[in-house]
């Protein structure tokens, strides 16, 4: 059952990657990459369940906590065309 979930999520990720490749504007790519990061975070969490070992969930926590940092800095960059830091 969990294997089926993981497969579904990975196929979703592969479909989302199509938007990263073709996405006509940069924000499309950013949104798709953000979606990919969420999907793969969920996948990692399910992998921890498959391996039945809580240490794998630490990786998923790290992604859940940090993956939006990328998106924030990309968004700021895109908003002004440069980073006003």
């Amino acid at each position: 059952m969990i294997t089926a979930m993981i497969w579904t999520l990975m196929i979703s990720a592969a479909l989302g990657f199509w938007r990263v490749i073709v996405g006509p504007t940069v924000p499309d790519r950013i949104v798709a990459a953000d979606a990919l990061s969420i999907i793969l975070t969920t996948t990692l969490a399910l992998l921890g369940l498959v391996f039945n070992n809580p240490v794998f969930l630490d990786i998923a926590i790290a992604f859940a906590v940090l993956a939006f940092a990328d998106v924030l800095i990309m968004a700021k960059f895109f908003e002004h065309g440069e980073l006003h830091l």
Binding site: M1, S12, V31, A32, D34, A35, I39, L57, F68, F78
Partner: protein, 116 residues
């Protein structure tokens, strides 16, 4: 009995979550412009991921794993809306117009606020 109930509930939650994830990715691919894609890629996806994680937490054999899965879900729900808000605002500020949109309420209010 309770095990069966728990597992079937977990299965329903996870299947719903996976369905939402898939649907939102299809939305990212099929929707016409960036704002609708953001709409698909964050709302539905956050909900889907949360559902999957809650289902997994129900299914998990030990309470440590369940606690960590709840934590992941909480963090995702806390961070992802910020990111999507930032990017949609960035798109709007950058000057990208939504297609098929006639009324720009946010833009009007934004304009007024910036003027004052």
């Amino acid at each position: 009995m309770s095990t069966l109930l728990r597992e079937s509930a977990a299965f329903v939650l996870m299947a719903g979550g996976a369905f939402f994830s898939l649907a939102s990715v299809i939305g990212i691919i099929r929707f016409p412009d960036i704002y609708t894609r953001i709409h698909a890629g964050t709302k539905a996806l956050t909900g889907g991921a949360t559902l999957v994680l809650l289902g997994a937490a129900l299914y998990a054999p030990s309470w440590q794993i369940s606690a960590k899965l709840f934590l992941i879900a909480a963090f995702l729900m806390a961070t992802n809306p910020i990111a999507s808000h930032a990017i949609s605002r960035a798109c709007y500020r950058h000057g990208m117009k939504p297609v098929l949109a006639f009324i720009d309420e946010y833009g009007n209010s934004e304009e007024k606020r910036d003027r004052t």
